[in-house]
């Protein structure tokens, strides 16, 4: 296999790896590539003023060294970044949480309470004969999802969209074959809808909604039913909805086959979750505290910690489009693409270290939405920007120097 391997798109949970960056034929990839134009100003900044990178790194290390309770938030980069960030968190006693951590935490909580049964893209394509999208039209955020799971299918699966206020097309066309999309609004909110569908399956005589009973019957007789949901689109009670859906899947698996395909983890979140968990033993929203590692999915959220002023320093990492540092008045060390500097507003008490985006500026790895497949990334353009991993390792080295100075004085 001598041809150069293809580009892997890092911009949505699907990590499509079959097209060149010059022609991704995906609206999301095109928009993201257009937004990450090659930078002209690569300089680091301190309080809004350009400074040499070494100086910015030194100041950042001093702040980390002095901080009593730092928060490492965002984690919006690749696997290598996460493998560098956890040793930093361990070294400085930080709390860690990802950008958009709430849906991730809710999905995790449902998993920690009840477990669940999931599947992967290849399995969906091979086996699914009924796909039910719950609460959203996932192609809005993962444009090529149905192309990926319908391509090559002789008999495409039936596709149902469950829930109110979901804008879905009436049909989709893949490889010249059109598949109808069946909408199923219920007039109920999602937690109620999920509960009613569960009821329709387990005690149909108690469920008044005929259409939900019919759907439950289709799920029961499916050869391999797949429920797709996006934790970030399930509302404030996402955890409850997911728990219900997994209860439904468990029930279906007693006699037939079903599985869930949660779509989440874009922007490096799935990778950060995996890496933090394997290194420390615990998932994100964990504190390297004086008593040991403490994991608390409710208490240790970025928004809450900043609102409560429970941390005295924010180190934020976000290299993907739309990842912006959270509001708050804490001193902050920001690692992001150079263009971010123009949109920060105030830069008091701010160190800004420009970094590259994985899969655009440099190679790397990301974990796909199913949490199973890890794909290599290749740069889409030549770039002089350092990666997050390189930058964090430089910070760690600077911290070690500070330790050495402290030890000798």
């Amino acid at each position: 296999m001598t041809a150069p391997p293809p580009w892997t798109c890092p911009f949505c949970p699907l990590l499509c790896d079959d097209r060149d960056a010059s022609a991704p034929a995906c609206p999301k990839a095109e928009a993201a590539l257009a937004a990450s134009t090659p930078p002209t100003d690569l300089s680091a900044r301190l309080h809004g003023q350009p400074v040499p990178r070494e100086q910015a790194l030194r100041v950042a290390a001093e702040w980390l060294h002095a901080a009593r309770q730092p928060l490492i938030a965002g984690w919006g980069a690749d696997v290598a970044a996460a493998r560098a960030l956890y040793p930093l968190a361990s070294r400085v006693g930080a709390i860690s949480d990802v950008c958009g951590g709430e849906p991730l935490a809710q999905a995790l909580r449902a998993q920690q309470d009840r477990g669940g049964y999931t599947t992967t893209l290849a399995e969906v394509r091979r086996h699914a004969d009924l796909i039910v999208c719950v609460g959203s039209w996932p192609a809005e955020r993962a444009p090529r999802l149905f192309e990926r799971v319908l391509a090559g299918r002789e008999t495409p699966p039936a596709i149902v969209v469950l829930g109110d206020d979901v804008t879905a097309p009436r049909s989709i066309t893949v490889e010249g074959r059109t598949t109808d999309i069946e909408g199923l609004p219920t007039g109920q909110d999602l937690p109620t809808t999920a509960a009613l569908l569960h009821l329709a399956l387990t005690r149909p005589q108690l469920c008044a909604d005929e259409r939900l009973r019919a759907l439950a019957e289709r799920l029961r007789s499916a050869r391999y039913a797949v429920l797709i949901w996006e934790p970030g689109q399930l509302g404030a009670q996402a955890g409850l909805v997911i728990e219900r859906l997994q209860g439904l899947i468990g029930r279906l698996n007693l006699s037939g086959r079903a599985a869930g395909l949660p779509l989440s983890g874009s922007g490096g979140a799935a990778s950060a979750q995996a890496v933090h968990t394997w290194l420390s033993g615990l998932p994100l929203r964990t504190q390297v505290g004086p008593r040991g590692l403490e994991h608390d999915g409710l208490r240790l959220s970025t928004e809450r910690l900043l609102a409560d002023r429970a941390v005295d320093l924010l180190l934020w990492v976000g290299t993907f489009p739309d990842q912006r540092p959270p509001d708050g008045d804490r001193p902050r060390i920001l690692l992001g693409p150079p263009a971010l500097a123009q949109t920060l507003g105030h830069e008091s008490a701010t160190v800004f270290l420009p970094v590259g985006t994985p899969g655009v500026d440099h190679a790397g790895h990301l974990v796909r939405c199913d949490g199973v497949v890890m794909l290599p990334l290749r740069p889409a353009r030549p770039s002089a920007l350092p990666s997050v991993a390189e930058t964090v390792n430089a910070l760690l080295a600077a911290l070690q120097q500070l330790d050495a100075v402290e030890a000798t004085t």
């Binding site: 041809a3 892997t8 920690q112 599985a259 995996a274 394997w278 615990l282 040991g292 890890m374 794909l375």
Partner: protein, 572 residues
Amino acid sequence: MTWTLLRGGRLHDPTNGVDGEVRDLAIQGGRLVAIPDESPTEVIDASGCIVMAGGIDLHSHIGGGKVNLARLLLPEDHRDRMGGSNPCALGDNPLELVSCGHATPGTLATGYRYVQMGYTAAFEPAMLAANARQAHMEMGDTPILDHGAYVLLGNDEHFLQRLAEGAPPEEIRDLIGWTLHATKAMGIKVVNPAGISAFKYHQRKLDVDESHVHWGVTPRQVVQALARGLTDLGVPHPLHIHGSNLGVAGNIASTLATIDALEGLPAHLTHVQFHAYGKEGPKKFSSAALQLVEAVNARPQLSIDVGQILFGQTVTASGDTMRQHANAGLANPRKWIGADLECEAGCGVVPFRYQEKSYVNALQWAIGLELFLSVRNPWQVVLTTDHPNGAPFTSYPHLIRLLMDRPFREEQLARLHPDVAANSALKDMKRELTLQEIAVMTRAAPAKLLGLTDRGHLGLGAAADIAVYRDDATDRERMFTTPEWVFKDGRVVARAGRITATPVGGTHFVTPRFDDERISEHNGGFAAALRERMARNGSVHPQHLEIGHDELCACCRGGRLLPTACFEGAAS
């Protein structure tokens, strides 16, 4: 050149026929060498100590998605007592990054805890090809330990389809060779042959001669094809088999049928404790350990590891979705994770608490010990708990004491469900394993079974991976818990239970010879088959299936790459 003298230790080095002799060892450049003429740079007094090669765990779930799922599922595993309210206490060693857990510790803690017990290598037995990068990364993030993995085959749709279509043995051989090469694996493991796939097609059980409902192939055919292909490739580690019907009463029939299916080819049967059950007695669940042992004793080409269970909380993590789904009702705490994976395999994570008062659990405990104590040749048995499935690896010292100390064993037996204690063959077993036999089961045999010629022994030229234990005949558990010194490639990495250095471990993998032409882009054969496979049963670009050496190096944190050659003269 500097060298270290390890003086006056009593050596147990079964590979070189050294059984408890007091001998000096010279360590230079990370290797064991003849005593140099010049005086040593450093002298370590090992008198009163037992010296063995570093321990090698050939079956321990230390890397890859399912272990990480277990960590996600069980935050309570990371508190002081499982489910307690306090976090695991911080260590006081600045060399250790913070990492915790009991049944599924973080990779950092996994490395530290193994090394503190005198182990210097561990092998992940169930790597998914689609998840191979992550598995290598997790192992690369397991400090100090050398590592490697067996990749799963025998449940992927392409393989089953080609087997059903009557693919010639050369094609199966090249598929195996390519899979090992692409994923940088050390061997092939088959889990519930064809059964994981069958579960996706609604089958709930699959006996050795029962047909997969869709592909029509049987587990017998799968085992035969894989064992034959590995033999033809000359891969040192034979087919690593997790058989059919794990945990089912009466599964000894499947286990013996699987052995029969091998038709004399070598194989390693893993965690056989879970596969040695009869259905005699009032509870229709009995030990079939002696039947299995009879088969193993009669076949020198077979090896086993036991998968001993020990009482307490753990979590079972397996590729065997069919069986894990069946056992999910026993989950304790009551939650479990299952998954179908990329038309290749599956994954089931079920927390479990083995209880002394449970008849079934007590019998499982006794069966494991019966297996250890009745296989005649220790070179055919490897000490494992199938970490974390039978118990966490940190319980090895306790297990060693059970095997070496009969009164201790009987004391434990007396605490169990009375029917087990009264009826088990174990109560009449007088054998106490010797230090030499323990050295075989924990170092020498695993090295031999993996084809590692310079590990697992203390001969000249071997890697200086060494564990030095203070001899303690009254409490072997204490002795094996905290060696005085542990050396990794000649460097002291633990001293009296405290980590003293954290080098990055190396990655073992095999380099099978297979028909290179067949993977050429310009050749129709294998590349076309791969493309077809991914088009129908995959979701990544075929060129992303292969992990190159540079990428492997990055995955493994720059640790050394340790390729193992295959046997010369294998069919090509």
